[in-house]
């Protein structure tokens, strides 16, 4: 696989400390606001949903960055912005030195060969009227990578084998396969163009535990074999810990903490990260019996009208006067450990 020379254009203001490896993707001050409109004939904007509200991070080559948070925190929207499936409201996304929003359609098509995605739901992300072989061959065909049909079929069979499926499955339809097998098809399709970077959006969440573990192992093997970089979006903190090098925690459109995986799990600084970790039950009754369960009160507020100051302050046990007034800066408190909290 050839990798073009990486030119780092934008100097990054925040996200990570750059020490090792080349930066593959830089997200800076990304904002994605969705307007809520009213009226059918003359529509006007009545409010905006601040799905992602100013987040910055970097992903280095070969790294797996975990993006965790609860429903509606903006983790999926972040992934969709990177894939340019949404036109971001503000901010920049630089991939291999190119500012994605400045690219025209043709240039973007080139970039899309290098950025792929694996979706959550293996049932709705495969076209039920296409055979597995056609589904996997489609990106190869669209991007005119292999024009010859026989060669293309051979490539499809190779991809199926790589993903642990029987090459004969190429002639089957999605409904003939189980959830785990379908997710493998989704992975094979994502690999079809030899990408550099894959956004895994809840890629294992819909699967049963034993099948989930198989797919996690497959993602790990593929990462090592093809030098892949992942953005691993998930709400499952145990899986993220297992798979990721660094982890970012999002809450209500903001990034509240970012650190190396071990550092984040062993030494969480943000109160939200703390309650999130405490909420995850550990599969061992003896460990659970001896564990303090810090239960956070209330629910996630609406992103239409988020709280003032720190968005977590209404649920935070450490909140002070200042937290409700001023937005805490996302700052580096230790080498590589970023947090947005006044009390840290």
């Amino acid at each position: 696989m050839s990798t073009p020379k990486i030119v780092r254009e934008a100097e990054t203001g925040s996200g990570t400390s750059i020490d090792l490896g080349e930066t593959l993707i830089t997200v800076k001050d990304l904002k994605m606001h969705f307007p809520i409109t009213e009226g059918v004939v003359i529509s006007r904007t009545v409010a905006t949903v601040k799905a992602v509200d100013g987040i910055s991070f970097e992903i280095k080559k070969g790294e797996t960055l975990g993006l965790v948070g609860e429903s509606g925190c903006g983790k999926t929207t972040t992934g969709r912005c990177i894939l340019q499936l949404e036109n971001q409201t503000e901010g920049s996304i630089v991939f291999e030195g190119q500012e994605l929003k400045d690219l025209d359609q043709k240039q973007m098509a080139k970039v899309r060969e290098r950025i792929q995605v694996i979706f959550q739901d293996p049932y709705s992300s495969l076209n039920p009227r296409m055979k597995i072989g056609e589904i996997i061959a489609e990106p190869i065909h669209v991007h005119k990578i292999i024009e010859d049909k026989t060669e293309r079929d051979a490539r499809v069979r190779e991809l199926l084998t790589i993903c642990g499926l029987n090459p004969a499955f190429a002639d089957r339809y999605p409904h003939e396969m189980s959830g785990g097998q379908r997710q493998r098809v989704g992975i094979a399709r994502a690999l079809a163009l030899n990408p550099e970077f894959i956004v895994c959006d809840e890629a294992v969440s819909a699967l049963d535990v034993s099948i989930q573990a198989q797919v996690i192992n497959l993602l790990e093997d593929l990462r090592d074999e093809f030098d892949l970089t992942y953005l691993f979006i998930s709400h499952d903190l145990s899986v993220v810990r297992h798979l990721c090098h660094r982890v970012a925690v999002m809450y209500l459109g903001k990034m509240v903490e970012l650190a190396d995986c071990d550092e984040l799990y062993d030494n969480p600084l943000h109160p939200y990260t703390n309650v999130l970790l405490s909420a995850v039950p550990i599969p061992d009754p003896d460990v659970e019996a001896g564990r303090a369960h810090e239960i956070v009160k209330g629910e996630v507020p609406s992103p239409i009208n988020p709280p003032s100051g720190c968005v977590f302050h209404p649920r935070c046990t450490m909140a002070t006067e200042r937290c409700s007034q001023e937005i805490p800066e996302f700052r580096e408190v230790k080498a590589g450990h970023w947090v947005a909290c006044w009390e840290v």
């Binding site: 609860e70 429903s71 189980s178 959830g179 785990g180 097998q181 049963d208 535990v209 034993s210 099948i211 989930q212 573990a213 198989q214 996690i216 192992n217 790990e220 709400h235 903190l237 145990s238 899986v239 810990r241 297992h242 995986c261 071990d262 799990y265 309650v275 999130l276 970790l277 405490s278 909420a279 995850v280 039950p281 550990i282 599969p283 061992d284 009754p285 003896d286 460990v287 659970e288 369960h293 239960i295 956070v296 629910e299 996630v300």
Partner: protein
Amino acid sequence: MTKLLEINGLTTYFYTSGGTVKAVDGISYDLEEGETLAIVGESGCGKSVSALSLMRLIPNPPGEIVDGKIIFMGKDLLSLSDEEMRNIRGKDMGMVFQEPMTSLNPVLTIGLQLTETLIQHLNVTPEDANKRALELMQMVGISDAGRRLSQYPHHLSGGMRQRVMIAMALACEPKLIIADEPTTALDVTIQAQILELMKNLTRDHGIAMIIITHNLGVVARYADRVNVMYAGRIIEKGSAHQIYHNPSHPYTLALLKSVPRMDQPRQAKLDPVDGQPPDLTKLDGGCAFRPRCRYVIDRCAAEIPELEETSDGQLTACWHGGKLNDPLQEAS
């Protein structure tokens, strides 16, 4: 303590065009008053169907409870008339389902749905029912309960709806609550809130609970005893401690090795079982886990192993009888 529930040889089949699905294939267990039992297993192992059978909510056709006995509070549920069963369901036996979005009626107010149960079963006046509904809403931690009662389910968040479901299940002070994946659709912090609430309420009111889940962490946190199901059968049962620390069935062992744990060093690799669960229409006369099992012997193909005690109170359905030499455990 006395036995609240005894299930013996419960068998539920579904007759489909693809053949007979043996969704629940002869399961037996019992439950004592105030006890929390977890039924774990993966999709299609029959855990939900076994719970639905227990409440006699299997749609017929295509489903049918073909065999077995369910003794609940001394009554044989399978011999009751529909009318008598209706009096038990919702009164002595409460239910909490997985999808709080679909298990509430979208066109009725929360208050109406809560009081309906009370008026039906307890013969109270609408005023008293309203008072009790308000109490219940506060009990499950819904603030501003009065206003919430006049609202519709779509006004509420997922966590709130699940709280309403719990309030409904608790309404008539049941002896048993059956919770089928009660927190699967919820976020982790809300899951923790709901589970803590259920645990406290069942403990305070002495209610027994059957919690059906695929989440091994949830089981570890809340269950006293555990039944592990695979392909329509209970393949292992025991106390939570026994199941997690001394699993005696290869499938239980495999399940535990499939989940990454946050309290342990980040291991290099997970060690899941290969393959997938079997097609329940094509089960043969051998152990259903055999094609995926690392400990398979000739006998596994010939006979289905029955549950047998391996240690005090722990039972396993495996020809090895719990003596599994785990190559991984030995290595570490």
